[in-house]
């Protein structure tokens, strides 16, 4: 009950602060238009924002004030704040470098880039490097099992860690850091391959349907409509059940790649067709048709070059979707099969550790790291795509 009263008092205080802020602004600036025309909602918003910031600062302070060894409910908040600041600085530096290094076009791009987009590009680059050079970067193999199981992350022997395994080991004694790095290769790589197959399939069919129209368009379109009426994750689970009767282990992983590719290609088809139809009505396509050009020339030389920008943005979004769905499948235990290291599976295996968070925050960090690795990449890709879409829509005006 007292919590509710506290909340109510806080709200009243914030509401008053908003009013005072606006009034003070009007008085001090001599009724400048900005304060004169400010609605109360805006003033309240400012006050609320300041209150939230103050709460964050206070929590950050508390996280240091609690002595080590005692339960520290602010530990993860501190890590989050550190992470946020660190990423912001990294993104800022990356953008700064991009503004002075590189070709004219890339420098121009970096100059108008928001911080979120440069953060996104940086993260995507880091993941790509990790995925490509995983065997060189990872200290151990992904399937290597050590005698010491359940080593606590952090590498601090007093807390149950081991400097040889900076992020600890899992229940059967595999190095978590190595598995995380290999996970970049497996999880991201598989999602990437799946998206490419989906694009080849869906893109080809989409452009064909757009160019040919008529019954081809109708048949493919209706089939895709029916396939899309089943939610992707549900459909994937159904087909994997069927597939699991045929193949096991890594064969099932391959089956899952094709299942996801087919399911996702329906979404690609929709977009490719829509983009294609918009281009097909252009007069230059009509001119090419009347010239007597063949289908191949129309699709590859006239349509495709004009569809790259929307398709590229869509590729980012589809990749995120496939990546998240595959991670979810793995998390549910039917996606990427062991022994491949994979983030979704790691989260599922280590999830119970979260319950130790209050007394040993380091232990709880391990599953969150794997889940965070998934989230970080999709957030990054989405930031880049958002920027691309914003840019292309801005040019229309």
């Amino acid at each position: 009950m007292s919590a509710w009263i506290g909340l109510l008092i806080a709200l009243v205080v914030i509401a008053t602060a908003g009013w005072v802020f606006r009034f003070a602004g009007q008085t001090v600036t001599g009724n400048k238009p900005y304060f004169r025309d400010m609605s109360y909602g805006v003033a309240f918003g400012f006050a609320l924002g300041v209150a939230l910031l103050a709460w964050l600062v206070w929590s950050y302070y508390r996280s240091w004030a609690i002595p080590a060894g005692q339960p520290n409910p602010y530990f993860f908040l501190r890590i989050a704040i550190h992470g946020f600041i660190l990423f912001a600085i990294a993104a800022f530096l990356f953008r700064l470098i991009g503004r002075y290094v590189g070709t004219g076009t890339s420098r121009k791009l970096f100059r108008s880039m928001p911080l979120t987009a440069s953060f996104g590009i940086l993260i995507v680059l880091v993941y790509a490097l990790l995925a490509i050079f995983a065997p060189m970067l990872a200290p151990y193999g992904q399937e290597q099992v050590f005698a010491q199981a359940n080593v606590v992350p952090g590498g601090d022997p007093t807390l149950g860690g081991n400097p040889d395994f900076p992020l600890g080991t899992d229940q059967i004694g595999r190095d978590i850091l190595s598995r995380l790095i290999y996970g970049a290769r497996n999880t991201v790589g598989i999602a990437f391959v799946t998206t490419i197959i989906a694009f080849l399939l869906g893109g080809t069919l989409g452009f064909l349907a757009a160019t040919l129209g008529g019954w081809v368009d109708q048949v493919v379109g209706r089939t895709v409509d029916a396939l899309m009426a089943i939610p992707a994750l549900i459909f994937a689970l159904l087909l994997i059940t069927v597939a699991s009767a045929w193949v096991q282990g890594s064969g099932l992983t391959v089956a899952m790649i094709f299942i996801m590719a087919v399911i996702d290609s329906t979404r690609v088809f929709r977009l490719a067709r829509a983009v294609g139809v918009n281009i097909v009505v252009m007069d230059y396509i009509e001119a090419a048709k009347l010239r007597g050009e063949g289908l191949g020339y129309l699709i590859f030389r006239e349509i495709l070059p004009n569809a790259t920008a929307p398709l590229l943005a869509e590729f980012g979004l589809r990749f995120c979707f496939v990546f998240l769905t595959i991670s979810s499948l793995s998390f549910l235990g039917v996606g990427i099969q062991p022994p491949l290291a994979d983030w979704g599976t790691m989260v599922r295996d280590m999830a119970p550790f979260i319950n130790y968070a209050q007394f040993a925050p380091q232990i709880a960090a391990a599953p969150l790291l794997a889940a965070g690795a998934i989230a970080l990449l999709t957030v990054a890709v989405n930031f880049v795509v958002d920027w691309m879409l914003h840019k292309s829509s801005g040019l229309k005006e």
């Binding site: 029916a226 549900i234 159904l238 991670s327 235990g333 889940a371 999709t378």
Partner: protein, 334 residues
């Protein structure tokens, strides 16, 4: 006939057709399994005679088309079959299906879980819909402000995160570090409403995070799109107060896009529910589905799949029909 009625009936028929197509897809997928149900029930070591007996029992010796219509008829009358987990060889051979004391049917298994899932989805919708609409409209009105930018980054991050990540973050903060809510949603039949709500809150909040972010972004885009219309500029140039511009000029036209946004996201809940139910061990249809997938319990998988797809089609259909009804061009034909 009123043209709107005609269009609505067309859409309903189309929805029905889609459902039929989906049922065919599911049937074909399941029937492409090697061997058949009989083999699956009895295992590899069964004698050919036993398999043949069960095949006859289940009507598996009939041609595929006959079996499809039989299955479809069963589905429509609520006879979803018997789960493999319940039906073992003995129960098939020992007791006939009519004896009443037989195994629990799929329908009996699904019914209570379906109710639980609907409860979870309902709680989520009640929190998420008003919240996301408010946030989306605010972001559209104050676009490019600090609030809008923060909301954009936050919602984009939430949309991009896998459901289980959000779920564990919430568990971490709201169940472990600050034990306010239970991290396991072990609800059961006959539980008092308050208690049930309390235990459902954490999965519902997780889904809310996912859905709100998506819905808010879509609402914002729809409203911004609308505010750029010439008739909104016209209303402003008539000297009408900002509030009235929104309520009288923007809102009636925003109805269709907003209905669409809500329906799309409720449809999205269907997928989200699966993962979240597994994380919180919530006894819903999603968890049953995943368990059956792992056990290769075909009748259950098949039934769940049909239910999910049906709900998905229904929601999309509803969005379609409602936005047709809210379109003045169609409501008042020339």
């Amino acid at each position: 006939m009123h043209p709107v009625l005609k269009i609505v009936i067309q859409r309903l028929l189309l929805g029905l057709l889609t459902l039929l197509a989906v049922s065919i897809i599911i049937f074909v997928a399941v029937n492409s399994l090697p061997g058949d149900f009989a083999q699956a029930i009895l295992g590899q070591s069964a004698t050919p005679e036993a398999v043949a007996a069960i095949r006859r029992d289940l009507g598996l010796d009939q041609p595929a088309v006959t079996r499809y219509f039989q299955w479809l008829g069963d589905m429509l009358t609520g006879n979803l079959g018997i789960s493999f987990a319940q039906a073992n060889f003995a129960s098939f051979v020992g007791t006939s299906a009519e004896s009443g004391s037989g195994p629990v049917t799929v329908a009996q298994q699904i019914a209570p879980r379906f109710e639980n899932t609907m409860f979870l989805a309902g709680v989520t919708a009640v929190i998420a819909v008003p919240m996301s609409l408010t946030l989306g409209i605010l972001a559209a009105l104050f676009r490019n402000s600090v609030f809008d930018r923060t909301a954009n980054i936050a919602s984009l991050s939430a949309v991009s995160s896998p459901e289980f990540f959000l779920a564990y973050i919430l568990i971490l903060f709201l169940a472990v570090l600050h034990p306010i809510l239970p991290s396991l949603s072990n609800i059961y039949e006959g539980m008092p409403f308050g208690e049930r709500l309390y235990r459902t809150l954490l999965p519902a909040l997780t889904l809310t995070l996912v859905v709100t972010a998506q819905m808010m972004r879509m609402t914002r885009a729809a409203i911004i799109n609308l505010l750029a219309s010439p008739y909104i500029e016209m209303a402003r140039l008539k000297g009408i107060s900002p509030m009235r511009v929104i309520v009288k000029h923007a809102l009636p036209n925003a109805l269709a896009p907003i209905i669409n946004v809500i329906a799309l996201n409720l449809a999205y809940l269907i997928t989200g529910v699966v993962v979240v139910e597994v994380v919180f061990v919530y006894p819903g249809i999603g968890q049953l589905f995943v368990d059956s997938v792992k056990n290769r319990d075909i009748p259950v998988v098949q039934a769940c799949c049909l239910i999910f797809a049906g709900a998905y089609i229904l929601l999309n259909l509803m969005a379609d029909v409602l936005s047709i009804l809210s379109n003045p061009r169609l409501r008042h034909p020339k």
